[in-house]
Symmetry: C2
Subunit: 383 residues, 2 copies
């Protein structure tokens, strides 16, 4: 699948013809936000849950993905009778601003004529810009206040930013496996991915779309290094250890690379399958937005100030083996919320699956999420 | 500096005109091992210490490097009055087989005519092959038994392999910041580096030397990702945090990439300076050798068997913040040595500098090393 094949999918979109002013000072002349909803909005418009997706996620939370054909990325969490129960809640998930699944981003047409994409001219965006675009979408859907905002990883940053920017619009917030800022190590890993993309000759200074090519090798390397950070060392050892497999193509040929460790084969698959569903310029834009994120810095280096007087009920969730966004970083948020006298629960889930645990079958996590939402629903007077 | 500029340095070498049979079954028709020595061999030939270098190290341990012009990589450890005291010991360090600082490797001429380099036809080598080449060198220097073998990281793997393969030739062994096998995570990070090299169009399927080019961008990305694993999260935060700098070239231009985090600038420098001193095919060969390393697997998955009846005195040293070769992996070696009733000390040095600590100013580490060697010298009857 090539670059243009990605474009033909007909995503469900909201158009904001007046565009949006970005934090960097550039005005997007028009903005589209692609989204999906599940369940039914109740008469009071009070049962909506916004789900914020992670770096390479998208709006297809709980249904077959139109590009990959695979199930939704949170099929285990969102659906009838599941922790985010679509029999009870109206669930919204939108593709982030800057993304490549239908929302305005580097692949979107720059002008009304719809021919030239933004490409590398797409302005730098921030997590706040993503959140402001989501706020516009929520208003368009006729919702003043969200019952809950939930998300993991970069999605968790959006949750924190929602609660800080629009406290009156967020009854409950669940930031999962996330942090209030990107650490030097987080930035370093993102930078390796960006440099891998820049190093690919097919990147063509970001103008690869002009001849319908993609910087597939560089983007695959970026995905591979990111993927290692999503897994714990224990999970890698359990899944692959030092097992080797011989590749058919190389059978019988003596070379240092004729046999492959299973972990290598797995990473190569992760890399090569990613390039068919993700735009390289979007990857650059969104990783940059993550690196910029520093909620305390926007409040005089005082994270508590970001949540002063917050009426929101928080449930912070971390995973014990997550080394990308370790528990210590959720603890920083918990302390800041406590200092702001906010209503906060903080749960560290024991898991050896690393950062990826929030996407996997973790019964304790799912019970925690379901229990917290049920308690909040009672407080909110939801039937 | 380009590929051929690397070749003109006149390294000190030992030539083994009869070559060497490798573990993979291929015979190297001739073999050269480049080395440096410091201090004086005593009359009994009993005061020799072999230092084994890490992945991207070389034989220039304690002197100005002829290519980079920088000081020796262990200037703080090796020298008169230092922990490895050249007033007392005769110190030898050789460039590993497969390397690119004068020892036979992918950049070496394949045939006696000296024109065509091996390139990607260089056979796969193992840590054991490196050690066997060192053994040949030691014999050439007229030494039957080494007073000590010392090395960190991949150098520590060689130390473990020396003690296992030639127990009677190793009086004392100091494996530092190392492991008895490469974990799935270690292999995964190496594989990202290899894929970054393969993705560079200038790699040219390994034949980049034919037109005097180097896959500089891919090799730089490989170095960047490896470099992150050498540092702890704490060290990155202390050194760089989230500080930004603007780049002159990009001043005044509004783009997501006009400002740079300091950690990005640092990584880019690490990447770009590396490509001037290291050969890409050597990087592929040596990372592969590390990935193959699994000392227990060679002994029926029983690491103790690798050291059965060992007369060697061991001092294992790890660093508390090393997540590439964590303390737990040294502990596995300590347990195996204890089970083999070997003479073993095990010291974990408290440090927040990560894996790199073995190359840095860590007084506790240096005291430990000096003290262990002094005690062994007494037992060995060295004056």
């Amino acid at each position: 699948m090539n670059h243009s094949a990605l474009s033909v999918v007909d995503h469900q979109r909201a158009l904001f013809a007046d565009g949006m002013m970005l934090e960097c000072g550039v005005a997007l002349p028009r903005m589209e936000i692609a989204y999906r909803t599940y369940g039914t909005l109740n008469a009071d418009r009070a049962n909506a849950i916004l789900i914020c997706h992670a770096l390479t996620g998208d709006q297809y939370v709980a249904e077959r993905h139109p590009v990959t054909g695979r199930g939704g990325w949170w099929d285990m969490v969102v659906g009838p009778g599941l922790p985010i129960d679509t029999n009870r809640y109206f669930v919204i998930c939108s593709n982030v601003l800057g993304g490549c699944m239908g929302s305005t981003g580097p692949r979107s047409p720059r002008d009304a004529d719809g021919v030239q994409p933004w490409g590398t001219d797409f302005p730098p965006i921030t997590i706040r810009d993503m959140v402001r675009a989501q706020k516009r979408l929520i208003e368009r859907l006729g919702i003043d206040r969200l019952f809950a905002v939930v998300g993991g990883s970069m999605g968790g940053m959006q949750v924190l930013d929602w609660a800080s920017a629009y406290p009156e619009s967020v009854f409950a917030a669940v930031p999962i496996a996330t942090a209030p800022y990107h650490s030097a190590q987080n930035i370093a890993f993102n930078e390796v991915g960006r440099q891998a993309i820049f190093a690919d000759q097919d990147y063509k200074a970001g103008r690869y779309w002009e001849d319908d090519s993609i910087p597939a090798r560089g983007l695959a390397v970026a995905r591979m290094v990111a993927h290692i950070t999503y897994l714990s060392e224990e999970a890698l050892t359990r899944k692959f250890g030092r097992r080797q497999r011989s590749t058919d193509a190389a059978a019988g040929i003596s070379s240092p690379f004729s046999d492959m460790f299973e972990v290598e084969s797995y990473l190569r698959y992760q890399g090569s399958s990613f390039v068919n569903r993700f735009d390289a310029n979007s990857y650059l834009t969104i990783t940059r937005a993550c690196d910029y994120f520093d909620l305390a810095a926007e409040h005089g280096d005082n994270l508590s100030a970001a949540f002063a007087g917050s009426p929101t009920r928080f449930c912070l969730i971390s995973f014990s083996s997550d080394w990308l966004y370790p528990t210590a970083e959720s603890r920083v948020v918990a302390r800041a919320l406590n200092a702001a006298a906010a209503n906060v629960s903080f749960v560290e889930i024991a898991s050896d699956k690393g950062h990826d645990a929030f996407l996997l079958d973790e019964p304790d996590f799912h019970r925690t999420l379901a229990g917290f939402l049920a308690g909040c629903a009672e407080h909110a007077g939801l039937a």
